[in-house]
């Protein structure tokens, strides 16, 4: 059953200038999909359309058959930067989505502490963001997105600014947490290896359009072995070729005149 369905959704900044151009895409429940593409290809915009932060100018996006018109409580979003509130502790940052709805209860605090444990931050819940490293801040941001137990998690290059080792750790944590709850995920990245490692299916985006999709058949759970397996390398190469093969910019018919 398709959990998210994107039906020829477009987003135009002005008529004739589309950032997202008639995209069709479905994500079955519990699957992990990655969207790869160069900077400026419209992948962040597509993610914001799915989140309900932007409205498509044509087409529709449905979650469980309901058209997305505004941000939904069922959806968690992780931004490119951790976007933590500097004046709150790590724990209060994780509790933010709940504390905007009601006064956090003791069991909410326990849940937040548990999540911080799961992302490897036990003992740091009292720290403020400035006293945390970049990787730790990203972990807090993920815990915050998961506290409401969203059925769908949208992530916008959350690990782009981290070093390679930290990024691999966070990828493993994310896979573990999402598998635990059967969360459906749409993950935007420009990192080919990251996309292959995380995803069940990868879509290549270029100039607002989807050009290629690739099913990743690596067995789960994936670990260090998977990253260096010949199959992994072969899939990376195939994805890279797909990205190269995508036409750079469709040339308009009247370009010569």
């Amino acid at each position: 059953m398709s959990f998210v369905s994107i039906d020829s959704a477009s987003y135009d900044v002005q008529p004739g200038q589309s950032i997202v151009d008639r995209i069709d895409w479905t994500i079955p429940a519990g699957e992990f999909h990655c969207l790869v593409g160069r900077s400026g290809c419209g992948k962040t915009t597509l993610l914001k359309l799915a989140a309900g932060l932007l409205q498509p100018t044509a087409g529709a996006i449905r979650i469980r058959g309901n058209t997305v018109r505004e941000p939904s409580p069922e959806v968690g979003f992780v931004f490119q930067t951790p976007t933590l509130l500097e004046w709150h502790t790590a724990l209060d940052n994780v509790l933010l989505p709940l504390s905007l709805k009601r006064r956090p209860r003791p069991e909410d605090r326990r849940k937040a502490e548990e999540l911080l444990d799961l992302v490897g931050l036990s003992g740091l819940e009292g720290r403020h963001p400035r006293a945390l490293s970049g990787g730790q801040q990203s972990r807090v941001a993920i815990a915050r997105a998961l506290i409401t137990e969203p059925a769908l998690l949208l992530l916008d290059e959350p690990f782009a600014a981290l070093d390679a080792i930290t990024r691999e750790e966070l990828q493993d944590d994310l896979l573990r947490l999402c598998a635990l709850r059967g969360t459906t995920v749409l993950f935007v990245t420009h990192d080919i290896a990251e996309a292959i490692y995380l995803a069940d299916r990868v879509a290549v985006m270029e100039a607002g359009r989807l050009h290629h999709t690739l099913a990743v058949d690596l067995p789960r759970p994936r670990g260090r072995e998977a990253r260096y397996s010949p199959r992994f390398t072969a899939l990376c190469r195939e994805l890279r070729r797909a990205m190269d093969g995508a036409p750079v910019q469709p040339v308009p018919l009247d370009a010569a005149s």
Partner: protein
């Protein structure tokens, strides 16, 4: 530490040079009084209690003016930052009113509120109002767009976004406005008393001028400087306390 000793040494050197020059040149004390005489006058003023009611009056005017000016400036700033239409309607007037020399309104306030404390408090409040208005509008306006989007994603109400995001995020800028207001409040209170005060440090300066007592005037400068520094340090301490969570663990 070395820098502090250096600063203190410089002060001693300057005062010593001043004293020496004053004694050797025989310059009349009406023009430039000797530092030793100024300190003596200051000490007498404090010991006899002559200066205390004036210090209390100026402090009270500053505190009241600051409190009223900052509170009104902050609330008006929040209102203008939140209501786009109102801001666009009033912005030309705000710019214009920034340029008006507020102290020039002093005589008018005496017509309206009479001689004494009220006029001075009103002038002080008016002067403190603008830095807070300006900095509140700026502070609330420059919130990280990602954080706004986060609050939209979490479906926060407008009031929640204001109270839980915009005001805390803009607090450093708003408090910088408070610090500017503190400095201006002293100017407001002293000059306000020049125009319409009977008691207070500014009024005492005018009285000392009438008596051609330059030594007392210099002693009053020292008191005013000390008062200003005390208020400034207090404001800086409050700022550090409020922002402790913004910067450190």
């Amino acid at each position: 530490m070395t820098a502090r000793i250096g600063s203190a040494l410089l002060l001693v050197l300057l005062l010593g040079g001043w004293e020496l020059y004053g004694r050797l040149s025989g310059i009349p004390s009406l023009v430039v009084p000797l530092p030793s005489a100024v300190l003596q006058t200051l000490w007498d003023g404090l010991a006899t209690g002559f200066l205390l009611p004036h210090i209390a009056m100026t402090s009270a005017e500053m505190t009241l003016g600051l409190a009223i000016g900052c509170a009104v400036g902050f609330l008006a700033g929040v209102l203008l930052a939140e209501v786009e239409g109102l801001r666009r309607l009033l912005y030309p007037y705000i710019i214009a009113s920034q340029v008006v020399p507020k102290l020039a309104l002093g005589p008018l306030f005496i017509v309206w509120f009479g001689f004494g404390m009220t006029s001075t408090v009103v002038i002080t409040a008016l002067i403190c109002f603008f830095p807070l208005l300006e900095n509140t509008i700026t502070g609330l306006g420059q919130v990280d767009p990602n954080k706004r989007e986060l609050f939209r994603m979490l479906r926060a109400t407008r009031l929640q976004t204001l109270l839980r995001l915009k005001i805390p995020a803009g607090l450093p800028v708003i408090l910088a406005g408070v610090r500017v207001s503190v400095v201006l409040a002293l100017v407001g209170a002293v000059v306000g008393e020049f125009i319409g005060g009977r008691t207070g440090l500014g009024a005492s300066i005018i009285a000392a001028q009438g008596m051609m007592d330059s030594t007392l005037m210099f002693a009053l400068f020292i008191v005013i400087t000390a008062l200003g520094m005390a208020f400034y340090q207090a404001a800086a301490a409050i700022e550090r306390w409020l922002l402790r969570r913004h910067w450190t663990n």
